[in-house]
């Protein structure tokens, strides 16, 4: 009897504990829940995805994670890195532009080869023209880049 109870106890302990702790965990940590990025695509293909394959400009707001795996489109005025970066960071970039500063905006400026001395003017110009850049709820990344280009080339 004691043995049976002990086994029951151990069973209860393991199931109870792990259910409490690990139920419905979505985790990227070092723990049990560590998930490789999107299954386990090879890391090299990820480098390639990030450095060479452009993602299309059809990504809209609401993308909170993930690199876009969309079909390629023709090289835009700026290089492919700009396309990928804007498509992957639509929300954060919009936020930075509305505030007139931020790490994502700085990165965009570097990718677009804006000289250091002009960065403040670049940021403030984009901020003032926020509504011209993010024209609607379903604006695409490609449109955003096009609009940014239109804003900075206008005087």
């Amino acid at each position: 009897m004691k043995k049976l109870l002990f086994l029951l106890f151990v069973g209860f302990m393991v199931i109870g504990f792990s259910t409490v702790l690990f139920a419905d965990q979505k985790n990227y940590g070092c723990g049990l829940g560590s998930m490789a990025w999107e299954g386990n695509d090879g890391l090299i293909s990820q480098v390639s995805a990030a450095t060479t394959n452009g993602s299309s400009g059809n990504q809209t707001f609401g993308i909170t994670s993930g690199t876009s795996n969309c079909t390629e489109y023709e090289t835009w005025t700026f290089n492919q890195k700009v396309n990928v970066f804007v498509a992957d960071n639509m929300d954060s970039l919009a936020k930075d532009i509305a505030k007139g500063k931020g790490e994502h905006l700085d990165t965009l400026a570097s990718l677009m080869n804006v000289p250091q001395k002009d960065k403040a003017a670049f940021s403030s110009k984009l901020q003032k023209n926020f509504s011209r850049i993010y024209t609607s709820e379903d604006v695409s990344a490609m449109e955003v880049i096009r609009n940014i280009e239109a804003v900075i080339s206008s005087t």
Binding site: F6, G31, S34, I44, Q46, S48
Partner: protein, 643 residues
């Protein structure tokens, strides 16, 4: 694309005797003799025992001799390569000479770091071996050199996303490497991550499989901004970045080894061969003089690997990157309650941004309100508390209003940097104490392998998070001349996540193990227990962090009449820092057991901790408990050392 003829011709040229050079696999006589000479030298100088060869192949000495920790057969060329460093080296040297293919490309191109090192170590005359044609293979995986050209790596940072307060699976934090490129932007750097690949969603199965190596671990690499979205925005974890002093050459070597590990698996073990441990091989590959993978402990905690790397003198300071949650809390702390409520209402769509714009408050106040509402709206969206459609519309509306207000140049937005996690107390603890229980004096020695309790010095650790594994206390009662196991906390986790205007988390605790408890004969008996509980906690400057919880309890033990008891109860307590070095925990809990044995257990206590130094403290505790009608008081004083 090169013409196939060219390959043939280059092979012909690289061979001195034209006669035998008809196919890639065969060798001419001179090459054969050169191969023999090289193999001989390799054997004579025992190159396979070289530490760097063991680093690159992940060889470690175990109970049953040397074996590689890598489990994927594609990582080895020799049949017995996993267990035989010498056979593997021989096979690799032969593969170089014979231009053998591995994974669709020449072995020398697939295993670039090995090739580079063997060439150097054995001073190979490259004019006498076939030149590996790495660029010719139009594989999904590019050659290392062309990837290097694309990435332009410059330096490496070790990133440590802190534990997430309410997520046990990430309770120890995580480490990853960030490879910075010529572009200088942190966001565009590459995050190198080692993790278990699984689609398992059933928690318990997940836990068991993770513990016993059922999952395959793979390296992955993606832009750092993607990782930041995961950790900082979705998972709400602060990140510490430790720039490393690796040179450009060392960085290149790190990537060469990473290239070899592409799509190669090792079985993943939560406690030792985990995300933090496998990254260390990359650092050793980068700088051969390092010795990080011969760890002393049987478990690998991410924070400990960070400490090891700091100890090696590899870090150039530490930078703090607060999570979105931390930013929200900081922003809110700058504002009055009234303004916080406005931000909350805007984020929830109860107040239109234009209305807020029209109000008669200062420009700075408006900016703060909008900035807070933007962050909070994003938080609501990642928590799926608003749909994407609603989110997008509201988000744009707030941003449009915010964009009319101009910049914010004040430094006030910068979140104050907390103490560095690597400068906190050691993750194991040993304690010596003396006291009296029910009038009977005792001496106690205790050992806690892992990790942090609510009362320990909080510097560098998350407030309100307690993670204890295997805490064991042995007591000697001099009156009875008896040595007793007093407690064994197999697991004792407490997560107190305070609720405020913006965040409404659940607090919880679970503890299981063995303890001595006074039973109906009025004497102490060993019982096994499992006590899960859940509730709420709050924080204010007067009370500190305080909590209320309800929970259940299971007792099993021979001293119980029916061998077991199941009960329910409630607990409350508060944890407050009186000064920098003095912390108290005052608590009470009451449990009624109704199934099995019927009895009531009540306990109240005041525990105190006085910090002497980062790795030492004094603890003082008084507890009073009651089982049925038996009262017992315990007083204990002791010293704790952390290491």
């Amino acid at each position: 694309m090169r013409h196939p003829h060219r390959v043939r011709i280059s092979l012909l040229l690289s061979c001195f005797l034209v006669l035998c050079a008809t196919a890639g696999g065969k060798l001419c006589a001179e090459e054969t003799s050169y191969l023999d000479a090289v193999l001989k030298e390799a054997h004579e100088t025992a190159v396979h025992q070289d530490r760097y060869w063991h680093t690159l192949l992940h060889y470690k000495k175990g109970l049953f001799g040397t074996r590689s920790l890598v489990d994927d057969p594609r990582f080895f060329l020799a049949k017995d390569g996993k267990y035989d460093p010498e056979a593997e080296l021989d096979a690799f040297i032969r593969a170089i000479f014979r231009n053998e293919m591995k994974d669709g490309k020449p072995a020398a191109c697939r295993f670039v770091a090995r090739y580079d090192w063997v060439k150097e170590r054995l001073r190979l005359d490259t004019s006498r071996i076939p030149a590996p044609e790495c660029e010719n293979f139009n594989e999904p995986i590019k050659s290392f050199d062309s990837l290097l050209g694309e990435m332009q790596p410059e330096s490496v940072t070790l990133a440590f996303p802190d534990a997430h307060i309410n997520s046990p699976a990430s309770m120890f934090g995580h480490t990853l490497l960030v490879v910075e490129t010529a572009s200088k932007s942190k966001l565009l750097a590459f995050a190198v991550n080692y993790a278990a690949a699984t689609q398992e969603t059933f928690g318990p199965l997940y836990a068991v499989k993770g513990l016993f190596g059922f999952y395959k671990g793979y390296f992955s690499m993606l832009p750092y901004y993607g990782k930041l979205q995961e950790y900082s925005d979705i998972d709400r974890r602060d990140i510490w970045e430790y720039p490393l002093n690796l040179t450009r050459d060392e960085t290149k070597r790190l990537l060469m080894h990473l290239y070899e590990l592409d799509n190669i698996y090792s079985y993943y073990y939560f406690f030792d061969e985990n995300c933090s441990y496998d990254l260390l091989f990359l650092l050793e590959a980068a700088r051969p003089s390092l010795n990080l993978t011969d760890q002393q402990r049987v478990w690998v905690i991410p924070l400990d690997t960070v400490k090891d790397v700091v100890k090696e003198g590899m870090t150039l300071g530490a930078e703090y990157r607060p999570s979105q949650t931390t930013k929200i809390q900081h922003l809110a702390s700058l504002m009055s309650k009234e303004q916080q409520v406005k931000a909350l209402k805007i984020a929830k769509g109860e107040l239109q941004p234009d209305q807020a714009l029209g109000q008669e408050i200062s420009q700075d106040e408006k900016i703060r309100i909008f900035d807070l509402s933007i962050e909070y709206l994003q938080y609501l969206h990642t928590r799926k508390e608003v749909t994407t459609d609603v989110y997008v519309e509201r988000f744009l509306k707030i941003l449009r209003a915010r964009s009319t207000l101009g910049g914010q140049d004040k430094e006030e937005y910068a979140v104050p940097v907390p103490p560095r996690p690597d400068q906190g107390h050691g993750s194991s603890r040993i304690g010596f104490a003396a006291g009296s229980k029910g009038g009977s004096p005792f001496q106690e020695i205790s050992f806690r392998p892992v990790y942090h309790s609510l009362l320990d010095n909080g510097k560098g650790y998350r407030e309100g998070a307690q993670i204890i594994f295997g805490d064991t206390a042995l007591r000697y009662y001099s009156q009875d001349n008896k040595l007793k196991l007093e407690t064994l906390d197999v697991i004792n986790i407490v997560s107190l996540a305070p609720r405020d205007l913006f965040f409404k988390p659940i607090s919880w605790m679970v503890n299981t193990g063995l303890t001595q408890r006074i039973m109906n004969d009025g004497k102490d008996h060993m019982i096994a227990q499992l006590n899960p509980a859940g509730g709420f906690s709050w924080k204010n400057s007067f009370l500190g962090l305080y909590y209320f919880m309800i929970g259940s309890s299971l007792n099993v033990g021979g001293a119980l009449t029916k061998d077991y008891a199941v009960g329910a109860g409630a607990s409350a307590g508060l944890i407050r820092s009186i000064t920098d070095f003095w912390k108290i925990h005052l608590y009470a809990k009451d449990t009624y057991y109704g199934v099995g044995d019927e009895y009531n257990y009540f306990e109240a206590g005041l525990m105190q901790n006085l910090v002497l130094s980062t790795n030492s403290s004094i603890s003082l505790g008084v507890t009073r408990s009651r089982t049925l009608s038996f009262y017992q008081t315990e007083v204990k004083c002791g010293v704790n050392l952390y290491f």
